[in-house]
């Protein structure tokens, strides 16, 4: 089955995942949860740290973009500003007494804990994604389509006449 790329298609792609996620969470909640009161803090910390560090990495990538555009400063400053917004929000929210603080007692400790936490989550994500892509690619390369998607030119059979010198 092959469909055109559209909004409906992406909804079809994401729907089973979201249904599956909700199902897991419902079963999880029905069975009973332990100490998960800081789930929102974990979400917010992950969001802010991931945003700020990715924006910082994009700021680095902007240097390569600038290389191909006679080194303009405007996009560099733009991305630097986007990164600083993230850093400022982290500072602002962590400095509010208990808003985003988990087990850490100092803002600095929470900040560094967030970075290590993000690195661990990122490693798990990359490992899972790499494994899935590897399995899908292995199956695709191992089972080439019987019908090629492009037209194939079939050469006319050439009748080869071999003259055999008769020794008789």
């Amino acid at each position: 089955m092959s469909v055109d790329n559209g909004k409906g298609t992406w909804a079809l792609v994401l729907a089973p995942t979201l249904i599956f996620l909700v199902l897991i969470l419902v079963i999880n909640a029905v069975l009973g949860l332990g100490e998960v009161s800081n789930a929102f803090k974990r979400f917010a910390n992950a969001f802010l740290t991931a945003y700020t560090l990715t924006a910082g990495a994009m700021f680095g990538a902007m240097f390569f973009y600038a290389d191909s555009r006679n080194r303009p400063l405007a996009p560099l400053f733009g991305m630097l500003a986007a990164t600083l917004v993230g850093a400022g929000m982290i500072f602002l929210f962590l400095s509010q007494s208990d808003l985003l603080m988990e087990a850490s007692s100092s803002m600095q400790a929470q900040f560094f804990s967030n970075i290590v936490h993000l690195a661990v989550v990122f490693l798990a994500l990359v490992t899972a994604a790499g494994l899935l892509v590897g399995i899908a690619m292995a199956h695709i390369t191992g089972n080439p389509p019987r019908r090629l998607p492009w037209p194939v030119e079939v050469e006319d059979e050439v009748e080869v006449v071999v003259e055999i010198d008769s020794e008789e």
Binding site: S2, L21, Y65, A103, T127, L131, G134, A138
Partner: protein, 296 residues
Amino acid sequence: MADGHPYGVERTAFTPDSTNLHQLETMPTGMALVEPQQIEALLWFWLPLALVPLGFWMLLSRSNESVRKLGLPTVFFGFIMVIASQWTVPDSDSSASGHLLLVVIGPILLLGIGSFMAIFGGPVPVGRLPPVARPAGYFSIAMGLAWLLALHMVQSPLWRGEVNPYWMVWWAVFLLALCLAGTSLAQVVYLFGDNRGRTAANVGIFGLGSGGVLLVMMFNDGAQISALQMRSQIWLATADLLGTIAGILMAVLAFAIVITLYERSLSEIEPTAPLSEVEKQRVSDIIFDNIGGEDE
């Protein structure tokens, strides 16, 4: 996890007899920031950790060949030093992530090498491996997954006498990502691929299988991790996963907005003046040199 101190370093317990420690406790915050333990954590954990993205950045450098060549050794050195942080800075809580890296590096390598062998053991047009590589690749993947499962069911990685907290985070996020991304990828392959129903089914079954493993762990205790702990970790892993993905997508969106705004602000390119006679002659010479050929 965090013990409430900068860089995750455990502060030495206060003893009334120790004058120096008392001075440290009453020291202003600015001065207390430069404790030797923190400098050690900075040197032996955070700097090596920073070397990893720096090395990848160097790998992308196009202007300087020597900088690019230094990229991979920098990444490798950073990884090794982060793994070694459990010995170089054992007091730091962050070193638990180095311990985790050491624990999972074996299964991850098995999964990576297995995927590579399974892909290139098939009838690919370039870089084809011997046919035995394909089953060996699948075997390697199965071994990697079995290793990870054994880390939950047989012996979980211990850190300071308890299960490494980062292992619980990593394991829950890995399983959750595997089942959620697996079902999504199956849909992508099915909807966008041409006659790829079987591939989609296999990837989907793999994703659902991961979900099945997740469910089993929600019901049954592991070697050192109880079912209740696992359920809590899955709940928190969902928060981590959604937060991380949302944050990354927001940063990519910011990047796209910055580039779009800059490109829109550029003035349109004015038409250039027509070629002069000298330029025309030069172009003709170049074309003649390249496609004219030599007289035989």
